[in-house]
């Protein structure tokens, strides 16, 4: 009887997860989606206390409390710009939990069949890699690890470590008896591989890697679900595994990188110097003139980049946009897929500043509009508006989809100095005849533009 109630609750939880994720894939219903999934999680967790033959309830409650409160506190406190690394951190915790489940099961050593044992070990391997790899991703985005770490023969060394982990895993599966030493070595090598895998990857590629680890954790959870004969874990884990894999591909495509490229190449390590033959000079403008230009324009497109978020300028930028709208200017925001730190991140940052999402346009939607646009305001963006990606086959970023800001009648670029973008490539847009540079901090300059327009 109790078993049936538990099974039915898990079934309901699985349905709520799927419906919740489905709702989360549209901006209109997204908020309801997370609530549905949350209810599913609550039902599943509470009903698990009724599992027959369990003990350690007090300590279990303490563990839930410890992990839950720490996550609640950190999740509430974190700034919106820092959310990607928190996702990495929580994801790593999930992978670690999957590894811990496998460790407990291996220590107990009661497996119904060879298949379950194999799945437990596979889940442990994937979960451990996801755990340590996600921690590196977190440390990198948090700024604790600034430089990608590379050494000669790294890929070969990594493969060797992975094979060692796989070999000890195979040893566990085939031996059928579990010495603590082998279990320990297996986990240590698996964790080491996760570290080594993530260390050489640069910060800009981290979103793709986090998404990949997210999918891997899902898979690990599904595998441990088979071991524990738990349908909710199997279904939820597999759904996340496949959805996460697809999401990883979409992100990589948006950045014009293949997943293999992200994982096994070293982007940005070469200087890509050959392509820096840009003609012309940068022409400065002051805020008053720029303000007049925008105030009397018919159509303005604002192109925000991560630099805007770093300068915490999104509120000022929206104030500026509102002011222009109130003067009858048609204002749109053009969002490059990788404008933030991960696809969609810029949308979240602008949403925080109360910018309505129907003023935000994707690359595909807006590129045709640039030739009819009077002023494009580039703020904190660089590589994503570099026309070299379209015109110069020698450029390291050639082929990357960009926003065609250079095609608009006038371009105003707010920028702190004359430096290059993340890719280290000179930006041809800044030297264009129709481009004026407004040097200064994003937030301060947006403020000056507002003041200039208000005086008109």
């Amino acid at each position: 009887m109790m078993e049936n109630i538990i099974e039915i609750s898990y079934f309901i939880a699985a349905i709520l997860f799927i419906l919740g994720l489905k709702k989360m894939s549209s901006p209109v219903t997204a908020r309801g989606g997370i609530v549905w999934a949350g209810i599913g999680m609550l039902v599943a967790t509470l009903i698990t206390f009724l599992h027959p033959g369990m003990g350690n309830y007090l300590l279990m409650t303490v563990a839930i409390f410890v992990g839950g409160v720490a996550a609640l506190w950190s999740g509430k406190k974190v700034a919106i710009t820092d959310m990607p690394q928190m996702i990495a951190l929580y994801n790593g915790m999930g992978g670690g939990a999957a590894g811990a489940i496998a460790a407990v099961e291996l220590l107990r050593g009661e497996f119904h069949s060879q298949t379950f044992l194999t799945l437990a070990v596979l889940g442990a391997l994937i979960g451990s890699v996801s755990f340590s790899g996600s921690l590196i991703a977190f440390a990198k985005l948090q700024g604790w690890l600034r430089r990608p770490m590379r050494f000669p023969g790294q890929q070969i060394f990594n493969i060797f470590v992975f094979l060692a982990a796989a070999a000890f895993g195979a040893l566990l599966v085939t031996r059928g008896e579990f010495s603590g030493t082998i279990i320990l070595i297996f986990f240590v090598t698996a964790l080491a591989y996760g570290l080594l895998m993530a260390l050489p990857i640069g910060g800009a590629d981290m979103p793709v890697v986090i998404s990949l680890f997210n999918a891997l954790t899902g898979l690990a959870v599904a595998f441990e679900g088979f071991v524990l004969n738990n349908a909710a874990m199997i279904i939820a884990g597999t759904v996340v595994g496949s959805a996460g894999t697809l999401l990883t591909q979409l992100m990589a495509r948006a950045m014009n990188r293949s997943i293999g490229n992200v994982l096994f190449s070293s982007f940005g390590s070469s200087d890509g110097g050959a392509a820096d033959n840009v003609e012309g000079s940068m022409k400065p403008i002051d805020a008053a003139d720029a303000g007049i230009m925008m105030a009397y324009a018919e159509r303005v497109i604002i192109i925000p980049g991560y630099g805007m978020a770093v300068a915490q300028a999104q509120h000022k930028v929206w104030e500026l946009a509102e002011l222009l709208i109130s003067r009858g200017v048609n204002v749109k925001f053009a969002i490059h897929p990788v404008a933030g730190r991960m696809p969609g991140h810029m949308n979240v940052l602008l949403a925080e500043a109360n910018v309505p999402y129907d003023l935000l346009y994707d690359l595909d939607e807006i590129n045709a509009a640039f030739p009819q646009t009077d002023v494009s305001l580039v703020i904190g963006a660089n590589d994503v508006v570099n026309p070299s990606a379209r015109t110069n086959p020698d450029s390291p970023i050639y082929g990357m989809p960009i926003l065609n800001a250079d095609m608009s009648h006038n371009v105003i670029v707010i920028k702190r100095g004359q430096g290059k973008g993340f890719s280290g490539v000179e930006n041809a847009l800044f030297f264009g005849d129709n481009t004026r540079m407004l040097y200064g901090d994003g937030q301060a300059m947006a403020g000056e533009l507002i003041a200039a327009i208000k005086e008109l």
Partner: protein
């Protein structure tokens, strides 16, 4: 007991479901959706609880405890972060 072909069928159907859910998602929801799916695999908490509940030796108990705490962090943190992100999606037309 879920085993053999039944397990394989569940695995296959779930994989297709996940793929279908994501295939038509707009770019603006990539980050929240990644965060949301990160929350959903917090279901690992259920497994960690079962594993810890059946632990006998001290070592098993300690590992189980760590597992439950990590899983609870995954679930709670995933929910809080996703909720905070989605809370901010508003339309200029005033609707939700």
């Amino acid at each position: 007991m879920i085993e053999g072909m039944t397990a394989l069928y569940i695995f296959m159907l779930s994989a297709f479901t996940g793929y279908e859910i994501i295939s038509r998602v707009p770019v603006i929801l990539h980050t929240p959706l990644m965060s949301g799916s990160n929350f959903v695999h917090g279901i690992v908490l259920v497994g960690a609880m079962v594993a810890m509940g059946h632990a006998h030796t001290t070592l098993e108990l300690v590992v189980g405890f760590v597992g439950v705490a990590l899983a609870a962090g995954n679930a709670v943190g995933g929910y809080v972060v996703t909720e905070r992100m989605l809370e901010m999606f508003k339309s200029s037309k005033g609707g939700k």
